[in-house]
Symmetry: C2
Subunit: 343 residues, 2 copies
DNA sequence: TTGAAAGCGCTAACAG
DNA sequence: CTGTTAGCGCTTTCAA
């Protein structure tokens, strides 16, 4: 299939290049018969305007970049990124955007690629998955005036737009649920040096405060979001006889359940447990895990749409978008204020 | 940081636009002092040539597309894709290519996106992960003369370039290992309607033939690459007393081991088992799984490099690149021709 | 409502 | 060795 240019289409249709351009772009004031004539030639030839030429004059490439400054292995195995990319790709397709993906295997590579990219005008904007170790890259992007949306709350919220799920509210919701169904001594397994987990922990604190329950430090332990770390961490808490545990992600919650099983503590009768994420393993756990569902895919969509707004109405102030989570009650927390077990 | 153009740099440096272009592109015959003067201005201004303008005139965007016509959820949870994308991204970074990612959530979306993309000259070429259900998309790409490299062997090998790991050799190698260490009645758990598995099965057949072992149909069963399916499938074979099982992926092999455990068959003494892939779960299995390691990341790299060759020396004949696998001996197959167990 | 012409920022002959 | 010039394919005034 030969590639045609505007010029050629114009000649075939016996009109000017400008006219063809107008029908291609849906400009309204064109004599119907002309429009039709041109249209016919376009379909017959299979003409598609050259994206590069278009971009050059319009100064918009319709390409956005997604930067994932993490270990590749981790990224593509973590359901979080699956949902996120799912949402981003979906929104790109819906808005006629091309998604370009930036993955790095070393900081040096990251630096080089970003440096050679920036300033070339290739991408209209960037989405960066938050990671506190890559502040300088974000600075570079910002310095080069590349519209930017972060996924996840950054350290410094003042100058960057981001979308995130509402982790404080989520942590609050999880803790409140435990309180609602009657648990009082509530432990938490948080994650070290992780902003999201920090915020969920903050929600936990606020909920306890609001319900007049004192925060007991001995009921707070830390893991690293892995199942094993949950298993380890909860054993530090167990001696202090918690009635329920809030793990700041599902994997750690499942690790907790493994620990309970080993010492014959039954869920949810002896102890309640709630996770966070609601990725597939939560449902498959036995008993099925009560958890907080994050709208991860939706945050991908929102990120693209926010970026689009940034591009279109050059807003200067950073915009922050927080998405609501949902409490998913399953079998790992007890039902109402029931006290006795079924067995 | 203001964006400069060649023209502006030229004016500042007191030379012509062409000269600046030449130093930017490393053209050799330039008076050193001029080169240096221009270079200085470039670094001072932070000038980067506009990628779009460059692409327009050179007719090369240096953007390649990666099309993954599968369910997004599956893709980003499967370690196979993690390694593959790892390799592709790495090769792109190394070769100054931009990677654009095409994910679809419906056939309609796939069709629309491909249609609007094709013919715009935005991408120089495409890498498509093989999937036998998307032949028409491949046809469209081909019809539009978009240089194409498939990952995995397609149904019709005649007209498309592809890279794959050598599945026949891998299947042969796995089977031969089982024979080498003394197993004779060797069963296989293959996967339905999967080209890779078919080829591995073919390797199994050839190995048995070469060693004078008759293929026994009762020792062949099929799963779908999931752990559960391996668990189910192997139970069909067990009544026929296999001495060893070759599962055409690790997940099914692990499913088999679960089945063995339930009926108290011990690995590797009562039965040997070998998997295929060597993704992390293989190592973590107990006993650790003997398996065939596929160079998946390397196939990503090779795919990019092959595409690059296609782009540069417009070769017309399809090129096929088969990568070698490695036998990884662990604890799930016995050692040498040892017969008695350790226990 | 349409065409002519300028120009987006760059590269690549072609002169000199 | 360097500058001039002519585009790459498109959009967009500006006239007509």
């Amino acid at each position: 299939m030969k590639r045609f240019t505007l010029e050629e289409i114009a000649k075939i249709a016996g009109v000017s290049r400008a006219t063809v351009s107008r029908v291609v772009n849906g400009y309204p004031h064109i004599r119907p018969e002309i429009r039709e004539r041109v249209q016919t030639v376009i379909t017959q030839t299979g003409f598609r305007p050259n994206a590069l030429a278009r971009s050059l004059v319009s100064n918009r490439s319709n390409i956005i970049g997604l930067i994932i400054p993490s270990v590749v292995q981790k990224v593509f195995t973590d359901p979080y990124f699956a949902y996120l990319i799912h949402g981003i790709a979906q929104a790109c397709n819906a808005n006629g955007l091309i998604l370009s993906l930036y993955l790095f295997h070393s900081l040096e590579e990251e630096h080089n690629v970003i440096q050679t990219l920036v300033g070339t005008g290739l991408v209209d904007g960037m989405i960066v998955t938050a990671d506190r170790h890559h502040q300088d890259m974000v600075e570079t992007l910002l310095a080069n005036q590349i519209p930017l949306v972060l996924i996840g709350e950054p350290e410094d919220r003042s100058k960057i737009s981001y979308v995130d799920t509402d982790n404080i509210a989520g942590g609050y919701m999880a803790t409140k649920h435990l309180i609602d169904v009657g648990y009082r001594r509530i432990g938490i397994i948080a994650a070290q040096v992780n902003k999201s987990s920090d915020l969920r922990l903050e929600g936990y604190r606020r909920a306890l405060n609001d319900y007049g329950i004192k925060v007991d430090k001995r009921l707070i332990a830390y893991g690293n979001f892995s199942q094993d770390s949950g298993y380890e961490a909860v054993r530090e808490i167990l001696p202090y006889r918690p009635e329920a545990i809030f793990a700041t992600n599902d994997a750690m919650a499942i690790g907790c359940m493994r620990a309970f099983k080993e010492v014959n503590i039954s869920v949810p009768d002896d102890i309640g447990i709630i996770g966070y994420d609601d990725f597939p393993p939560a449902q498959q756990a036995a008993p099925a895990l009560t958890t907080i569902r994050q709208p991860v895919q939706q945050s991908g969509i929102e990120a693209v749409e926010l970026l689009l707004e940034l591009l279109n109405n050059d807003v200067k102030v950073p915009i922050h978008r927080l998405l609501d989570n949902t409490l998913i009650v399953r079998a790992s927390t007890r039902n109402g204020v029931r006290v006795e077990s079924n067995e």
